[in-house]
Amino acid sequence: MPHIWCPGCGNGIVTAALVRAIERADYDQRDVVIVSGIGCSSRAAGYLNFNTLHTTHGRALAFATGLKMARPELKLFVIMGDGDCSAIGGNHFIHSARRNIDLNAIVVNNHIYGMTGGQHSPLTPTGKKATTAPRGTLEREFNLLDLARGAGATFGARGNAAQPRQLEQLITRAANHKGFSLVEALSPCPIAYGRRNKLGGPVDMLKELKESSISIERATSKEETELEGKTITGVIYQDEVPEYAAEYYRSIGKEIPVKSGG
């Protein structure tokens, strides 16, 4: 420490929320594994005192699938960036969701590839600028939660770095959910995304993030027009579907230990 993230970057806030969520879930420290891909947010794994696995770009979920199937009793949190998860990692993302394997995917969405200096990603809002989209992106960005749900994910929540307490609770609820859980955490990247799109400094970006968000509970009572341009936060969907690792072990008649060994 101090960590490598830029001043005002949301990664630290999201990581702190994750740690508090794990603390709140009261897991045994030995049972928790943090898996991450490659990118700014994925460096979080290297700062945390659990078993931590920093994998290759886009492949965190595939590594985590292998580990989960070998050790189903472990609690896996898979930290990925927006590009890491939905561009190069897209195939593993949709298949992990399809399997409904018990992994907690924490996608830190700062709308760009931060580590490499601010290129656009599949979650860059249309028209926004990036080093590789100087005139603004043309294509539409994914709705990550809909993508995951379409692929079979059974828990989808969205939070942001401007509401860390809520984010912490969402991660805890994800962790308690048996099945593929996605928490999309919108996060400011002042240095690359903020500066290039003239969104002000870290404080301005967090304030804008807070103002433009509305919890799903409050959104239901609002008219369609009032929700224009608003980002819905909270648990967006949660369904109960058999979890892949548990089903596999049941099919071979092998017990899953409640706690890890040793």
Binding site: G8, I13, A16, N49, V203, L206
Partner: protein, 86 residues
């Protein structure tokens, strides 16, 4: 060091200057304006204004602020709060 008793806890705000990168988020989001950036743009606290609500701890991207709660009854060492400083 005036401490605010919250039930059977006392709480102190601990700021680790070496980790603070002066982003100003804590200053902006503190409901009591109890934080400010010094000339080296490191976060500092005004103890009198601080109500130990812990919002700054959750907003700090550098893990530089910790709200250390001590149980009043005996063992002062029972620190809770994000212990990511190790």
């Amino acid at each position: 060091m005036a401490q605010v008793n919250k039930g059977d806890y006392t709480a102190d705000l601990f700021i680790k200057e070496e980790w603070c990168k002066g982003c100003g988020i804590c200053v902006a989001f503190c409901p009591r304006e109890a934080l400010f950036l010094d000339e080296k743009s490191k976060a500092q606290k005004t103890v009198e204004k601080c109500t130990k609500c812990g919002i700054c701890e959750t907003f700090c991207p550098d893990f530089a602020i910790s709200l250390i709660k001590r149980r009043l009854s005996g063992n002062a060492g029972d620190e809770t709060g994000l212990d990511a400083r190790k």
